[in-house]
Amino acid sequence: MSGFFKSSIGRKVAMALSAFFLMIFLLMHVSVNLLSVFSEETFNAASHFMGTNWVIQFIMQPILIFGVVFHFVMGFVLEIKNKKALGVPYVKNNGAANSSWASRNMIYSGLVILAFIVLHFIDFWFPEINYKYIEALPADPTRYYAELHHKFVSPLRVGAYVIAFVLLGLHLAHGFTSAFQSMGITAGRKKTLKSIGKAYAIVIPALFIIIALYHHFNH
């Protein structure tokens, strides 16, 4: 089996498996964030549970970080291998004639998402780790909504988030069906999966954008 993951197809399968994991995580993340639009108390309760439950903190969180790092590292490995396979570049290449922009530029949309994750960690994750484990401040189950709300005052940050979510949408627009194809499931041809993929790529980033804009315009 280890030989399988060293093959070109095995690497794509590993990429797809990490993509499925991250897509499930995105669904969960947007669901919790959406609570902040409807109820401050519910959002605080959900965030407090996520932030203090030891299974989520010490088992799920490291797995998630590993999944994110793995997806990026494997993406770079594949990109380097693919670049090595190319010959002299074409003088004229009409890529738009046979494929979508999103499918040809996964590395660039991925890089924007990576930059966003760095920003997102600086905004939320590092302060959270500092609060809980470094300064070890007393637990405050009501602080989460205010922290989130405060982050979206700056139009620059909101703008950066919106751009990143648009690129996330483009990444998912190709990535969803591509992951299924890599796993040997011809998602591109199965109408239902294709529709789910399109809906997922539009709805998830759109909800993240709506949440950011909601908090920005409700100060």
């Binding site: 089996m1 030989g3 399988f4 093959s7 070109s8 197809i9 095995g10 690497r11 794509k12 399968v13 594949l78 291998k81 693919n82 090595k84 396979a85 190319l86 010959g87 002299v88 570049p89 074409y90 003088v91 004229k92 290449n93 009409n94 890529g95 004639a97 046979n98 494929s99 979508s100 499918s103 040809r104 996964m106 190709h174 069906t177 591509s178 194809q181 890599s182 796993m183 040997g184 499931i185 011809t186 591109g188 041809r189």
Partner: protein, 247 residues
């Protein structure tokens, strides 16, 4: 029609190539693209210049020899055709046409528009066949029941002519449509299933060894394939390799 051609000229595999401009006149819209190239070469020979080297053989879309990347697309702007089946009616009088060889590290240029596609042969030799005892006791193929659906799908996969347009088109120079078609052609039939696991393992290993890139599922290969080989074949190859690795 009169045309300006921008053609990649390269003396041999060790020399650096470059684009050279040519004018061709009196081209009929009914000519095939290769016939237009013949006219150009006739003009060049008459002027005492070196003709442009390009691959061709059957000139009826079967052999897979003619290559050429025309105006940024493998086999040119038409769909479901090889370069020999591309007609000059696809272009307009006064057009400038860019003609380049198929590009991939695994397809080195031999001269001008001729590339070495023997990497495909080596992939085929690694497993693209069934071992049949030809001692005289061979079973009649018609005595083995095969569903119509499987037979049709296998036939569709078998129409791959190994031209390399998939590799030339792919932004990663991936050969997975070609290998997927060859794996599928046998995996779908009972005769091919006996050696299915070894076949997919060996062909994929050879494909990787030849230095082809990974599939990003852009679907460009399927669009540019002159035989309309479907991406389903890549998915089937992926399944076959997973199955073989688990067994």
């Amino acid at each position: 029609m009169n045309l300006t051609l921008k053609i990649w000229r390269q003396k041999d595999s060790n020399t650096k190539g470059q684009m050279v401009d040519y004018k061709v006149t009196d081209i009929s819209e009914h000519m095939s693209f290769l016939e237009m190239m013949d006219v150009l070469n006739e003009q060049l020979i008459n002027k005492g210049e070196e003709p442009v080297a390009f691959d061709h053989d059957c000139r009826e879309g079967i052999c897979g020899m003619c290559s050429m990347y025309i105006n940024g697309e493998a086999h040119g702007p038409d769909r479901g055709v090889t370069t020999c089946q591309l007609h000059m009616r696809m272009f307009k009088d006064g057009d400038t046409i860019t003609i380049e060889p198929f590009r991939a590290k695994a397809f080195p240029v031999i001269k001008d528009l001729v590339v070495d596609r023997s990497a495909f042969e080596r992939i085929q030799q690694a497993g693209g066949y069934i071992s049949v005892n030809t001692s005289g006791n061979t079973q009649d193929a018609n005595s083995i029941p095969i569903s119509k659906h499987a037979a049709d799908e296998a036939m569709d996969a078998a129409t791959c002519i190994g031209c390399g347009a998939c590799v030339a088109t792919c932004k990663n120079s991936s050969a997975m449509l070609f290998v997927g078609a060859k794996v599928s052609q046998y995996a779908l039939l009972p005769q091919g299933q006996i050696e299915a696991a070894d076949r997919v393992r060996n062909m994929v290993a050879q494909m990787d060894l030849e230095g082809f890139g990974n599939c990003t599922n852009t679907g460009a290969c399927e669009i540019e394939c002159p035989k309309g080989i479907s991406l389903d074949n890549i998915a089937r190859m992926n399944r076959e390799l997973m199955k073989a690795s688990l067994s």
